[in-house]
């Protein structure tokens, strides 16, 4: 995993093929433990194009963050990529040495995490941090970088940006801090932005401002965005396409309208139905009994079979692959002829 690094990096050459900005192929992320190897992510494949927001949804532990972290090259050991490839603009990045990956992070891939304070240094002004990031990646003078920093703060909606640039992170509110983090992530004009629960810590009225900002940035800069969240509402409002993860695998992926309004996978359906409707009070919410298996107890076959009311004998034996369903692709034996009627 470490040594064969540069053997394959030179894969594609200059030919002008339109690659997706990000392509993940058959990714498997594992955590070796004393009790065996845990699969946190299994056989995940996805693409994100220019100007597109792909939402990754699923419940806690489904593998959303690990997919994002693997892409960023930030898996914490012993976690590692055991299988698969990650391509940025058609070139493999999963096998780059850390030194090169560090250059790509920040320059070509920007990251936004849930807690803005983890991305900001408390002892430096917002301006100093922005200027440093900008100068690390772009060849600009200090004063040019400062001007750019002010522009960035304006772009993400910080009022009176030129006055506030010399403030410290703690002098900003939570929503404002998240805007600063977005400005930092944008500093080097990355092609890909990975946003992991960027609005989860924020109030709804602020949340709506941040998701609107993400959409605007994605559109205006033609960036590709991977939006990781467990909030269906945020996905519905923000993403163009959605991948639903369950126990480390994609169970359904497709256009946001198809997945949200006409989900095919029984788990995706159950998830949608369990959201309390805003239109009026119902007697009882649809509920999926039980809970998602942890990575150390993922059952054979379809990982959802023990909770699935439609499961047939096949579901207990073999893992279903993704097949075309209307508007989406779904990994369920119901759609690939494995469940007898």
């Amino acid at each position: 995993m470490l040594m064969q690094a540069h053997a394959t990096t030179t894969g594609h050459s200059g030919a002008a093929i339109a690659h997706p900005v990000l392509e993940v192929r058959n990714l498997r992320v594992v955590f070796p433990t004393r009790h065996g190897v845990l699969n946190a992510v299994s056989d995940v494949s996805l693409t994100i194009n220019k100007g597109e927001i792909l939402g990754l949804v699923g419940e806690s532990g489904a593998g959303k963050s690990m997919t994002g972290m693997a892409t960023l090259g930030l898996l914490e050991p012993p976690g590692r990529i055991a299988e698969g490839e990650i391509l940025l603009d058609g070139r493999r990045i999963d096998n780059l040495p850390e030194r090169e990956m560090a250059k790509i992070r920040g320059r070509r891939i920007g990251a936004i995490f849930q807690d803005p304070l983890t991305s900001l240094h408390p002892l430096f002004t917002v301006g100093a941090q922005l200027v440093e990031t900008i100068r690390l990646h772009l060849h600009l003078s200090r004063s040019q970088a400062r001007r750019r920093a002010i522009d960035l703060l304006k772009e993400v909606g910080i009022p009176a940006a030129s006055d506030r640039i010399d403030d410290y992170p703690h002098q900003f509110s939570g929503g404002m801090r998240q805007r600063v983090v977005i400005a930092l992530a944008l500093a080097a004009e990355p092609e890909l932005i990975i946003a992991d629960e960027p609005t989860t810590a924020l109030d709804v009225s602020i949340q709506a401002q941040i998701t609107a900002l993400l959409r605007r940035i994605c559109r205006e800069r033609a960036a590709a965005v991977m939006l990781v969240t467990h909030d269906m509402g945020v996905i519905a409002e923000t993403a163009d396409r959605v991948a639903v993860l369950y126990a480390g695998r994609i169970v359904e992926v497709g256009h946001v309208d198809a997945v949200i309004h006409a989900p095919k996978h029984p788990y995706a359906k159950g998830l949608m139905d369990s959201i309390p409707p805003l239109e009026g009070r119902v007697a009882r919410l649809a509920q999926i009994d039980g809970s998602m298996p942890r990575p150390d107890s993922i059952p054979e076959g379809c990982a959802f079979h023990s909770r699935c009311t439609l499961a047939g004998p096949h579901c207990r034996i073999a893992v279903p692959g993704l097949v075309e369903t209307e508007g989406s692709r779904t990994a369920c034996w119901l759609y690939s002829g494995g469940v007898e009627a």
Binding site: S173, V204, S205, I206, R216, L271, P276, P277, R284
Partner: protein
């Protein structure tokens, strides 16, 4: 704690109505957030206070559910803690009708099922603690029977009593907290964001459980959440808080169908909608100001599209509309608001 202690000033309903399980009147909680004495002396700083709850009044109907909603820091948890007696009020009244259980009148379910359970105790002892503490059962066998019954009530198995909290998922841990909260046979349950740390599929299980328990045991809920769809699902009445005050309070249907206060409308407008996603809106609704130094007049005026000079200087009084709709807004009083139904 008698029901007859209420006498309210202002425009709100006069006394505890017969059907109210809880009546709160002009409740205030001020926190002293001054620097330590010596620092104050050296740096010549004055004492500083924070009004986390600022003269709020509401009733919770018996067997019903009133929810408090609002953004972070608006004082929801402080109200919860005042109601269960974890804080004492700076002023104002909290009156329960005492037809509820004799002991453990109110108990509380917290947001975080992880930190609210002692990790070194077995689940059995966690649930048994209030029963033993209040001597609700005389023998250890009766305690055991009661704990097993409680675990079953919340959908766990009596065998789960032998395990430790870390062996359970988030949703199961919240079931354990609910079992413990029910141990004292309370008539009134205060639930502070009970599902905010849970995934939607698990949240559905817990909300269904809470509604079942309400029907079966006749519980009254004071429910707290910042999630409007959860609140709509659970509540008979909803009170919207902003910087320590209730700005609007009404039956749920009314609040959703005909919101009057500009802040309520902002809250409803910003809910990420599954059905009608509004992907390209740009929201410029500002930020929540600091409760340490709240804006003058109507605290919402810096964010309010309808604010005028009066809003900046004069605090709006609470008006009563249609008998059961509390609202504090000058624009509404002056008839300056656009008709509802535009949200």
């Amino acid at each position: 704690m008698s029901a007859k202690s209420v006498g309210v000033t202002g425009t709100r309903k006069g006394t505890t109505e017969a059907g109210a399980a809880l009546a709160v009147r002009a409740l205030v909680k001020t926190f002293d957030i001054s620097a330590p004495f010596l620092n104050r002396l050296i740096e010549r700083k004055p004492r500083r206070y924070l009004r986390a709850v600022d003269e709020i009044s509401f009733d919770v109907p018996k067997g019903g559910c009133l929810s408090l909603v609002g953004e972070s820091g608006c004082g929801k948890s402080t109200v919860a803690r005042l109601v269960v007696g974890l804080y004492s009020p700076t002023s104002g009244e909290i009156a329960f009708s005492n037809s509820g259980g004799e002991q453990g009148l109110t108990t509380m379910v917290f947001q975080d099922p992880y930190s609210s359970l002692n990790p070194r105790w077995r689940v059995f002892d966690i649930v048994a603690e209030p029963i033993r503490e209040l001597k609700l059962r005389s023998t250890e066998n009766e305690v055991r029977a009661r704990v097993e019954e409680l675990l079953q009530t919340v959908g766990l198995s009596p065998r789960d009593g032998r395990k430790y909290p870390h062996e359970f998922s988030g949703g199961q841990r919240q079931r354990i907290s609910i079992a413990r909260a029910l141990a004292t046979e309370p008539a009134f349950l205060v639930c502070d964001e009970p599902t905010s740390a849970l995934d939607v599929s698990v949240q559905a299980q817990i909300l269904n459980l809470m509604r079942d328990l309400q029907d079966r045991l006749g519980l009254t809920y004071l429910f707290i959440s910042h999630d409007m769809s959860v609140v709509r699902h659970m509540s008979d009445r909803i009170a919207v808080m902003y910087l320590g005050r209730i700005v609007e309070e009404a039956p749920s249907e009314t609040l959703f169908e005909e919101p009057l206060h500009p802040y309520t409308r902002l809250l409803l407008d910003t809910i990420p909608a599954l059905d009608a996603p509004n992907r390209d809106r740009e929201i410029t609704a500002g930020e929540v100001p600091s409760p340490i130094d709240p804006p003058s007049g109507c605290a919402f005026h810096p964010r309010c599209p309808l604010a005028n000079q009066r809003c900046k200087s004069e605090r709006p009084a609470v008006l009563l509309r249609d008998g059961d709709h509390q609202i504090a807004c000058h624009a509404v009083e002056e008839g300056r608001y656009a008709p509802a139904g535009m949200t």
